[in-house]
């Protein structure tokens, strides 16, 4: 069974394009032949692999990606040495400016092109000002024009977008993390020559900050997962006593009313015991109980984010229902009536 064409196109698209670019530049030679052979083998492997997981694993473990990359680099090096035009200063300057002008064309219309293109245009203007190649190179170094190509303006804009996204998604730990990264970027910029930080050094600091926050992000998510389960069990238990239960998809069974009623009874009889075990695990993992949920930062944030699927009244009902949620018990009648009323208010009576 082959990997389907769309998936193969996605995986191999970049490599096909890289090969095609070299073909269009009339690349040839041993390294180019090797590159073609590698790509052909990657294509054929898609036809013989049983699924996409086997395919991508083989591509990685049998070093196809790295072999392609090495062969591609070898072709580029051979092409740069093969005297494509010669090596006088005028020719080198012309080639350099041509490469930058191509880059401008490729960036037109792309995201952040308004930030990426101007530094490249500055370099092209400098190159066309009549100065010699070595003077052009020196001025690029001394004025940091090369450094401006590293995309630091875009980096700051991207960071601001990430903060904005995390704020809109109500992810406070991520907001903290991205703000710290931005603060490091700004501090490095303020101390750097030309106001442009070394992007390699910044990259390491960014990576380290993301690494630092990973445990806190994981803990936040896990706490939410735990109390979500507790709310779900409590909600299902109370609702199982409501008049609408036999028509609710949580319990309706295609096999008929007997099994539907059995599903309802299972929830009524078993959820308290299940709930107590879940609560014990919550306590064991985080030192938190049911009563801590509703004032916890994770809960308050999820409510603000609109990701808690219970109304204010529903949450009150759940909290009041807790005292009755013990094995072999049932909720007080008033709780059941209020749950029914709230359900019909939200979903209408069927």
């Amino acid at each position: 069974m082959a990997v389907d064409k769309n998936t193969t196109d996605l995986i191999l698209g970049t490599y096909r394009n890289m090969f095609k670019e070299l073909q269009e530049k009339n690349a040839s030679g041993e390294s180019f032949d090797k590159l073609k052979k590698i790509l052909d083998e990657m294509e054929n492997m898609a036809l013989t692999s049983k699924d996409v997981m086997e395919y991508t694993t083989k591509l990685t473990t049998q070093n196809y990606f790295v072999d392609f990359s090495n062969a591609y680099s070898a072709v580029l090096i051979e092409m740069s040495k093969s005297g494509s035009g010669g090596s006088s200063d005028d020719i080198l300057l012309k080639q350099t400016l041509s490469a930058y002008e191509n880059a401008i064309q490729q960036l037109e219309g792309k995201p952040y092109s308004d930030l990426l293109i101007p530094p490249i245009k500055n370099i092209v203007e400098l190159g066309k000002s009549g100065i010699s190649y070595p003077v052009f190179l020196r001025i690029c170094e001394e004025k940091g024009l090369n450094k401006a190509l590293e995309g630091n303006y875009v980096t700051r804009e991207v960071k601001l977008s990430e903060i904005e996204f995390a704020e809109k998604m109500f992810l406070p730990v991520e907001v903290k993390m991205h703000k710290e990264i931005l603060s490091v970027f700004d501090e490095m910029s303020s101390k750097a020559q030309f106001g442009i930080p070394d992007m390699f050094e910044f990259g390491l600091k960014r990576q380290h900050i993301e690494w630092k926050y990973a445990p806190e992000i994981e803990k936040w998510k896990m706490i939410i997962r735990h109390w979500e389960k507790l709310l779900e069990y409590m909600n299902d238990w109370i609702d199982s006593f409501c008049e609408f239960a036999p028509r609710d998809t949580r319990w309706t069974d295609m096999r008929g009313i007997f099994y539907t009623k059995r599903n309802i009874k299972r929830t009524q009889d078993c959820n308290p015991g299940v709930f107590k075990q879940r609560e014990r695990i919550f306590q064991e993992c985080f030192g938190l109980g049911w009563e801590n949920i509703f004032s916890h930062d994770t809960f308050l944030t999820e409510v603000k984010a609109g990701r808690v699927p219970h109304s204010e009244e529903s949450l009150k009902i759940l909290q009041e229902g807790y005292q009755y949620c013990k094995p072999f018990s049932k909720p007080e009648e008033n709780i059941i009536k209020r749950a029914e009323a709230e359900y019909y208010r939200r979903y209408g009576k069927k």
Binding site: M53, V66, N70, I77, Q207, D269, G273, K276
Partner: protein, 222 residues
């Protein structure tokens, strides 16, 4: 000295000066300095070209930058105790001086990074343990939930047994074969759970982890 030569001297000086007093780029500063001195001390550009080729100064320049950057990466991974990721900069730094051309440098770095990337993927199979936590909790909940007699068999026995049976089957038919596509000899290594790079991402106390390890072994039939 002709004007073009003077202009190149100034250019190589500017390259050298950008790394001056930079604590990260010490090797790069020295290699740029060597290039600058070769240019400044040459009688003409032709002599510079000869010095460049004979001393392989351009190759040494590329190596110097890689050394500086990999040294910083190694420092960071050591501090973070990310010992698998650390393999990449350490191995590159071990062999880098044997590179004698741009292509051999690129090939060397690519191959090391690809191999370490595989090792990272294999190491990350350890996360299968944490990813199973929800299931392990569910099994524990069902096994221990206090329920009326008529439900004991289904809730306390059949449910958890069915989940365990599915977990063993999934491990044997999916997880293990897929992992062995990466490493034919792979088996789950429980000691790795306690390595800091993994432990730090499991936000529960040690006691809970110890309990989950026992549950994971049963759930996966290990």
């Amino acid at each position: 000295m002709d004007q073009r030569h003077k202009e190149y001297i100034e250019y190589y000086k500017s390259r050298m000066l950008k790394y001056k007093d930079n604590s990260i780029y010490k090797n790069s500063y020295e290699s740029e300095k060597a290039l600058y001195e070769a240019m400044a001390n040459a009688s003409d550009l032709e002599e510079f070209g000869t010095r460049l080729q004979e001393g392989k100064l351009h190759i040494k320049n590329a190596l110097a930058l890689v050394k500086d950057q990999e040294t910083e990466r190694a420092k960071m991974f050591r501090e973070e105790k990310e010992f698998i990721r650390l393999q990449s900069p350490e191995r590159i730094l071990d062999v880098i001086d044997t590179a004698d051309s741009e292509s051999s440098l690129i090939t060397m770095v690519n191959e090391i990074e690809a191999e370490v990337s595989k090792n990272i993927s294999i190491d990350l199979f350890t996360c299968d343990f944490y990813y199973d936590f929800m299931m392990l909790e569910n099994i524990e909940v069902y096994q221990n939930a206090e329920v009326p007699d008529e439900w004991k068999k289904e809730i306390n026995c059949e449910n958890p047994e069915r989940m365990i049976e599915e977990g063993v089957k999934d491990w044997r038919e999916q997880v293990l074969p897929n992992a062995r596509l990466w490493d034919p000899n792979w088996n789950f290594n429980f000691e790795l759970i306690w390595e800091e790079r993994h432990r730090r991402l499991i936000p529960v106390p040690d006691d809970v982890i110890k309990k989950r390890i026992g549950q994971f072994k049963k759930y996966r039939g290990i």
